[in-house]
Symmetry: C2
Subunit: 662 residues, 2 copies
Amino acid sequence: MIVLAVIIGFALVIGVLALLYAAWLSYQVVKSPAGTPKMQEISKAIQEGANAFLMRQYKTLLPIVVVLLAVIGYFIHTHMAIAFLVGVVSSALAGYIGMQVSVRGNVRVAEAAKKGLAPALALAFKGGAVTGMALVGLGLIGMGGLYYIFGDLVPLIGYGFGASLISLFARVGGGIYTKAADVGADLVGKIEAGIPEDDPRNPAVIADNVGDNVGDCAGMAADVFESFVVTVIAAMLLGTASGLFFVELPLFVAGLGVLASILGSIFVRLGKDRHIMKAFYKGIAVTALLMLIGAYAYLSNVPDGIGWFIAVAVGVAITGLIFWITEYYTAKEFAPVKNVAEAARTGAGTNLIQGLAVGMQSTALPALLIIAGIIISFLAGGLYGVALAAAAMLSLSGIIIAVDSYGPITDNAGGIAEMSRMPDKVRKVTDELDAVGNTTKATTKGFAITGAALGALALFVAFAEETRLESVNLLEPAVVVGLFVGALLPFLFSSMLMTAVGRAAFEIVQEVRRQFKEIKGLMQGKARADYARCVDISTKTALRELALPGIMAVATPLLVGFLFGAPALAGLLAGAIASGFLLALTMSNAGAAWDNAKKLIEGGLYGGKGSDAHKAAVVGDTVGDPLKDTAGPALNALIKVVNTVSLVFAELILGYTLGLLG
Amino acid sequence: MIVLAVIIGFALVIGVLALLYAAWLSYQVVKSPAGTPKMQEISKAIQEGANAFLMRQYKTLLPIVVVLLAVIGYFIHTHMAIAFLVGVVSSALAGYIGMQVSVRGNVRVAEAAKKGLAPALALAFKGGAVTGMALVGLGLIGMGGLYYIFGDLVPLIGYGFGASLISLFARVGGGIYTKAADVGADLVGKIEAGIPEDDPRNPAVIADNVGDNVGDCAGMAADVFESFVVTVIAAMLLGTASGLFFVELPLFVAGLGVLASILGSIFVRLGKDRHIMKAFYKGIAVTALLMLIGAYAYLSNVPDGIGWFIAVAVGVAITGLIFWITEYYTAKEFAPVKNVAEAARTGAGTNLIQGLAVGMQSTALPALLIIAGIIISFLAGGLYGVALAAAAMLSLSGIIIAVDSYGPITDNAGGIAEMSRMPDKVRKVTDELDAVGNTTKATTKGFAITGAALGALALFVAFAEETRLESVNLLEPAVVVGLFVGALLPFLFSSMLMTAVGRAAFEIVQEVRRQFKEIKGLMQGKARADYARCVDISTKTALRELALPGIMAVATPLLVGFLFGAPALAGLLAGAIASGFLLALTMSNAGAAWDNAKKLIEGGLYGGKGSDAHKAAVVGDTVGDPLKDTAGPALNALIKVVNTVSLVFAELILGYTLGLLG
């Protein structure tokens, strides 16, 4: 037990270190100058809106958590119930901390932009790093602490399920919120009233900015937090059969990745070429290198350690390559986006077809990457090796989320600069930061989707292990039924979210129209819009629309499990992972390609703004928005929650299934 | 062997009967008056175009067929090679016969429309029924004859593969052809030159009308011919282990279905309410009823026959329900299409999102229907019961294809009426016929997709049987790798076809522009357009663009099989079926919903033609076209060809696989 205590101690120490680092970064952000009273007023409104959403979300969650706590505690195990609660609180806390810093960082980045690109970038990345580090720090402490207290791994499944629940809420609710506010603000503001984006006269403008934080910061954080912890836990569970070393190793790898992320993040600094993306890549590269060095140093001294090292290296390589692949399909510099832009010349129809084709095509390389990763890590270390590779990949979450959360901060900074009418020089800086934020948003999404798929695969194997399944045989009709149901879920789920965004946006549209009509002097800038109402409507509708897909995600695996048994449920999990992964990539990358094709044209291509090509590209962007920011990312949460709910209820399903078709 | 000989005899007799019936119907069609010389001239051009396409397709196929014949004959078995050739010829012949009657029926239906709706409908349906009956007749004769000659079932796998090959060519090549010509004609004709659809001055107008026959008639016929024969063969193969009765039963069911279709088709007659769809439903209902009566009469006298009867009834029920479900999602009368039309009021973006959402949502009921079908037929008769249900469903192909092939005939009739400037009264009749043709096109597509999925599932089980697989275990990484590759294929395949249509359409656009510019007097109606060149370009580009996706469809399963072994390949097949089925439904139904939403608006809703809502709906329709007429239907061919190629090469794969990850 001594070695185990050492590893747990290592994880806890690194976890605390990550939190201290996050606290130090927060302090740095908060102590920076917060700009003029006008800027602070806007920032305050965004803060209030974000908090209002979080609070209402937590209030909605409360009864669900209480019921699940009782069910798990009564039917399964008290320890698992406790771990579940810790998981819920940890994930919520990570999101809360990230949001608090994000909504304070935005205005300070706008202020720092007065002094130039380098200080503004440094501050924005610090703000993003708070989310990244808080998330991995809390994850390490939660996993290490619970394992230490209970001396047993099984309760940690509850921890993962808690993280899943928050992730489902944050991804689905946040995704609907952010797009409803965005689309609602644009439809009436830009199109009907003809005022620019981020104009303070638009009553939905604050909701729109809140949405960036809710969706891109809190939603992404909860998603990746979940992937991180469930993957590490699944790998540890799989290690149980082979001995203590194999239980410790994933935790060690996780701690190592977090340590490497902390150190790597220090290297994110603008070089003389003022190339922002390069600054991020430098940080990520250093992190990856440190991770590899650390893993090699440890594993080369362990018998047969090279196999495990290869698995870790596979995880690190996947992270690097998925960035590269996603950037190829979604950035303006490469053929796919250029082709989508060119297709806009012949109208919206061809633009849309080309974008859809790019989205579908963009699934191939990531799928082949995962397949190659599975093959190599399996040859190196069996199924455990596959899970270890996944854990290694997700251990880099700290630096990746730092890069991702930088996005909403700069997006907001741009909005604040616009709303408070700061000089053009400042807006040029925030625009430059924001453009990179759009790229990182797309590329980190590739990481999140791949991470979710690998995490879900690890959970799938852990589920088979927990239910002592020797085979999930596709020649049994129950398994085929499960496979079909599982493959269907992402289609149905996406469809629900796409229509939900439409309904929610419609309510915002009506409210904005009402305010334009009823608030006198609003359009002349003499009266203030009622921002809070739009925030409130977005919040309410997002949480309302979350109910049905949420229930479907949790209830379907249980239904299939209790009706047809564990093999059918395993089939469902496999089907959901395969189809969910491919659909999520299609929707996210198509959306990003349309978005950037539009930006290419706005940059002057094919007639620039106002041209027919631009009008066509705007349609593509509109269609892409709910795909890339709502439905696509929500599938990450879906494919994991079906797995965690199955793991939590595994024993009950084994005991009480009707075993139809068995 | 006596009973077997009786059943084979029964199949052969019914097969000959179906062909005689088809010949009699052809005679009826051809002897009808063919209209004015002007009309005949147009019809002649369409005939020539269709024949040019078929001939070039056959020429392209020839070397491929010769190579495959040699490979199968040398490496596998001469009998299988012979059966392969028979399959190729039968499917090609079915398509050829159907096309010949279809391109002669079109002008005669236009002429008959002078006398009113009832005679025009009767003639159009007769023309469609030729395709339907020729197809099932040739199928029965092929299967029964080969089985009788070889006294062995295994060679029949080659027959199925031959049908697969033609289906791949017809669906992919035909799909690209039809949309390239359609989009090309519309883009320059309707939008740039401002001339109406089917205007004889448009050089692509004949290619467009040829496309309807090539895609909707020949493509659909080859697809369903393939589903029909592979499903019956797979069910017979599965029966081998249990005894001769189980080998005969699928052939008996197939014969019964064909007989019922012949009789049922007689009941397709316009009632006093002049409701065309009802006339079709009457025919289908009579067919289904006769099928059930016949099956019950036979199986109630067989020990344990009720189980097999239930399986047959499941197949019949699926046919009925899939019609009903598809109509709900794609017809103008119901909420989904109405919602898509309503979404057009707020622009193309919302129209597209709503259509995509409808497409994705429309996968749920068909998937649940298949699942319910699998469960019931499995409980009634094990895996064999599932295959028997599928065979029963596909046995109704005769009447379904009759209803489907009616569509391109009436579509062409409308075009000929327009081009030869027939009186409004006639065009009102052809419009009415054509409107129903659009509905049946969508609903029979639902049948084709579901049939393809069930047929592929039966092949999948047969593959496992032939390779003596006891388990296709999703806990083995090789199977997971296969599953991912399989699920990926339909995404990649669709993406290729979508961009192929764009490229092919672009070449038509350039040619039409060239003719408008260079042929003097064309726009004034004084000079004749060079239709043949557009037909030629469509043909060439369609067959060129077919190469890459075609090779991928055939090579990928072989690659996975030889690298990773039979279980991995089985995983691939399952993944391709699940994701292909769902994607095909999404694309076909979304496309049909956009199409009919546009027609709803053209009917006067939300401002009618020329309104903003209409413009938005036109964009949706443009996007939907390649989805519903190219990519979606081609997936039917894909998910079957991966299965038939695997079955043909099963023994070789077993013998020579590297068995990586094994």
